[in-house]
């Protein structure tokens, strides 16, 4: 039997397995990248708040991000 895209009678099972493999790992790849960006953004906002507290009178520019 020649290997083909149809995978004999088992196309659904074979291609679903390959799809599950790639979709789960794609989510696993993207999640930590988004988490790192979010952590950096939150830290930046926190530093800005601390700066504002240290110098009262300056406009509270980043308070809305809290």
């Amino acid at each position: 039997m020649n290997p083909s895209l149809a995978m004999g009678a088992y196309g659904f099972y074979v291609w679903s397995s390959v799809a599950v493999f790639f979709i789960v790992l794609l989510i696993d790849t993207l999640a930590p990248l988004a988490r790192r960006r979010r952590n950096l953004r939150e830290l930046r906002a926190r530093i800005a708040r601390q700066e504002n507290r240290r110098r009262p009178g300056t406009p509270p520019s980043n308070e809305s991000n809290a």
Partner: protein
């Protein structure tokens, strides 16, 4: 032994050094993993011949078995890191252990789902309470328990220590998963590829399997390093090096 090896490992225990090292290695590991996975799937899905009993359905092996190997391998790596973290209180080891758990859970989930997709056409059922399947499901629950326990503490290091204990206790399940097909008379077939002795598989089917194994190992490194980097930004946020990193990013317009 040359003394630069322990020295280098010691330096790598420092969070800023590990952060930079992980950032440098991650894209190469991920890129190589993608290339190898592509080659392996081409070899497995199109080049290798169909199985004489299972036809084309056996091709699920090329994603199922490497994922199953990773579900156990990552547990082993996580257990070693958890042990090192508990005994020597090395922060990086704790973070590596905790950030390994989601990757291990992902591979365990893939193993269960692809196994189900293989079981339906071959056994006639999506699921059965067979020793191998049940112990692999328990493995998934242990991974999820570790993740949950880690995040249930206000203090991250306290959470990491509690979850590390769970990792060490849960390690008893790893040999059970591995040997379940020998210890019990199961529906799940025995091992095809053997570390010791000849494998029961044709070379044209073996090389895509081993290539995919290398790809998933590299993928684990890439995913783990991305996770450790994200974790360190939060857990080291009070430290000077993270502040400098942030200032540098803002300065370069990032």
């Amino acid at each position: 032994m040359a003394n630069w090896v322990p020295l280098w490992l010691h330096r790598l225990g420092s969070p800023p050094v590990f952060y930079r090292f992980a950032g440098a290695v991650r894209p190469w590991a991920l890129g190589l993993a993608l290339v190898l996975a592509g080659v392996a799937l081409y070899g497995g899905l199109f080049v290798a011949p169909a199985d004489y009993q299972q036809g084309d359905a056996y091709r699920i092996i090329f994603v199922h078995v490497p994922s199953a190997w990773m579900s156990l391998f990552i547990y082993g790596a996580m257990a070693v890191a958890a042990f090192v973290g508990l005994v020597w209180r090395i922060k990086i080891a704790e973070v590596v252990a905790m950030e390994s758990a989601p990757v291990g859970a992902a591979f365990t989930f893939i193993t269960l789902v692809t196994g189900s997709l293989w079981g339906k056409p071959m056994w006639g059922t999506w699921w059965t309470w067979d020793a191998r399947l049940t112990s692999e499901l328990v493995l998934l629950f242990i991974y999820l328990g570790v993740i949950g326990l880690y995040h249930s503490f206000e203090d991250r290091r306290q959470g990491a220590r509690a979850a590390s204990f769970l990792v060490l206790v849960g390690a008893v399940n790893v040999p059970i998963v591995h040997f379940s097909v020998n210890w019990w008379n199961t529906l799940h077939q025995g091992s095809t590829v053997r570390l010791l002795g000849p494998s029961h598989i044709e070379a044209s089917m073996l090389w895509p399997l081993l290539t995919m194994m290398a790809a998933t190992k590299l993928y684990y490194i890439a995913s783990l390093f991305a996770r450790v980097r994200a974790d360190l930004i939060a857990s080291e946020s009070g430290k000077g090096w993270v502040r400098e990193l942030l200032a540098h990013r803002d300065g370069s317009g990032a």
